[in-house]
């Protein structure tokens, strides 16, 4: 399940920032590390939710620090 979610996050990141390589989207990195600004980060999240068909309340993202914790949160709603 986590792999599916990580793959969806990677697809979204690469939609927003096409120059990012697939193996750069790792659990221990943050979206900011990959070059996402605040608008990019919000778009990665909404694209990923749309891709997975899940709906996470906006305030639930406050504890997200890296791609791993983002994937954990999305998995909780999947």
């Amino acid at each position: 399940m986590t792999d599916n979610i990580l793959a969806a996050i990677a697809r979204s990141v690469r939609t927003v920032l096409p120059e990012i390589g697939p193996d750069q989207v790792r659990q221990d990195r943050s979206l900011s590390d990959l070059g996402c600004n605040s608008v990019d980060r919000a778009e990665v999240v909404s694209l990923t939710m749309e891709d997975l068909g899940i709906d996470v309340p906006v305030n639930a993202f406050s504890g997200v620090t890296d791609i791993g914790t983002l994937a954990d949160l999305l998995r909780a709603y999947a």
């Binding site: 608008v39 778009e43 909404s46 939710m49 749309e50 709906d55």
Partner: protein, 417 residues
């Protein structure tokens, strides 16, 4: 005041051509770009445009600027990409990459408003599926000022910047505003952008229900349906287009050895005191007369009029009445052209698209054809026919009139060779 304002760069993305050279060829061809979208709705749509393609046609752009353009607008809606491409073309043709004038002395004025209607249509299904799927980026994209921010980011501009609106006169309003900024010394140069206007489904239908749009006719070539000043005129056809002029003080242009296309010799804007879609010949005549007065040019010296001419019955007849008032005995002297017959009505961008068309014709010495002018509604007016005509042009008047009684006219004089 710092003296004359000149045009040192041009850019355009429209259905009749992407880039000034392709647009010049499109103007000479006299081909109407109006097509049927398959549903019976007529439009002059930009086809074959991509931002990477438009960037690759500008090999002189700095690599960092190219990268910023892709980063900032690679996934942006067509209006923003087209505006950015036109701005980059104009920047390139004005040779502004050398660092003079400095970034803090270059302004951006975008002519246009309500530019996001069709983008809203595109995004709405995602919002309907779940509000959480609406991209946060929409908070930026729905703002017309996204054009200002994006162009300034890509070109690294730090002067004044804002949007101005005047319905179908927006392009001319922006030219007037930009010329004022430069003339007042508040900027050495100003990128004036006419923003591509894509109507939303509801906006388009409102024009249909108003009886303002030309519609497809059984057996008729779509390209024959936009007919400014022809007895068969039956409304306007929307056109997709964005364009950009670099306005610059003559002192700045001269100081860096730039070659101006033309001088912005005069302009005028006035209201009819009327909120309606109801053009007024007195208001239209007043702006033409006032623009010429400010330019110090008698009406009898005008060589070319880029008419507002949309193909609307009332609009065309009103403008001809105004032109008769302005030119009097010289009414038959200037060439009258209707660029919308080729490009469609580019709405907010029209004034800038048509300024580009006018400056190309001034420099290259021709008037473009009016392909659908089979039975002109005025026997005296000097319209070009189905072929381009060689013409030595020096003084041009470019009109833009908008719903809500917004009248504008700008005078351009060709720079000495």
């Amino acid at each position: 005041m710092t003296g004359p304002v000149v045009v040192t760069g041009l850019g355009v993305v429209c259905a009749a051509g992407c880039g000034p050279a392709a647009f010049a060829a499109g103007l000479r061809s006299g081909r109407s770009a109006v097509t049927d979208d398959g549903s019976g709705a007529l439009a002059a749509a930009v086809s074959g445009f991509s931002l990477p393609g438009a960037l690759s046609a500008l090999p002189g752009l700095p690599a960092a600027m190219r990268d910023r353009a892709v980063r900032a607008a690679g996934r942006a809606p067509l209006p923003l990409q087209a505006a950015l491409a036109a701005a980059l073309q104009a920047w390139d043709s004005a040779r502004l990459a050398g660092g003079a004038p400095p970034a803090s002395r270059i302004a951006v004025v975008v002519g246009g408003h309500n530019l996001g209607g069709q983008h809203a249509d595109e995004v709405r299904p995602r919002f309907a599926a779940s509000p959480a799927y609406l991209p946060g980026r929409y908070a930026l994209r729905y703002l017309d000022t996204d054009h200002v921010g994006t162009v300034s980011e890509v070109l690294g501009l730090a002067g004044e910047g804002f949007t101005v609106g005047g319905a179908s006169a927006s392009g001319n309003v922006a030219i007037i505003c930009g010329a004022r900024l430069v003339a007042a010394g508040d900027a050495d140069a100003c990128l004036v952008i006419g923003a591509l206007t894509r109507l939303s489904a509801m906006e388009r239908q409102a024009f249909v229900n108003l009886g303002a749009l030309a519609t497809a006719a059984p057996g008729a070539d779509p390209a024959s349906r936009c007919r400014p000043f022809d007895a068969g005129h039956c409304g306007f056809v929307p056109g997709e287009g964005a364009a950009c002029l670099v306005l610059e003080s003559a002192r700045s242009a001269g100081g860096r050895g730039a070659t101006p296309w033309a001088t912005v010799a005069g302009y005028a804007q006035r209201l009819d005191g009327n909120s309606q879609a109801d053009p007024d010949a007195a208001g239209e005549a007043a702006v033409m007369t006032e623009a010429l007065r400010r330019a110090g040019i008698p009406a009898g010296q005008v060589d070319y009029v880029s008419t507002h001419g949309t193909g609307s019955r009332l609009g065309d007849e009103t403008e001809l009445a105004a032109l008769r008032t302005v030119f009097g005995d010289d009414f038959g002297r200037p060439w009258l052209n209707a660029t919308k017959g080729l490009t469609g009505h580019c709405l907010c961008a029209a004034g800038v698209v048509e300024a580009v068309a006018t400056l190309i014709q001034l420099r290259e010495g021709f008037v473009h054809p009016n392909p659908n002018l089979d039975h002109p509604i005025d026997p005296v007016a000097r319209f070009a026919g189905p072929s381009p005509e060689p013409a030595g042009l020096r003084v041009a008047l470019s009109n833009g009139f908008g719903f809500g009684g917004i009248n504008t006219s700008v005078v351009f004089t060709r720079a000495a060779a």
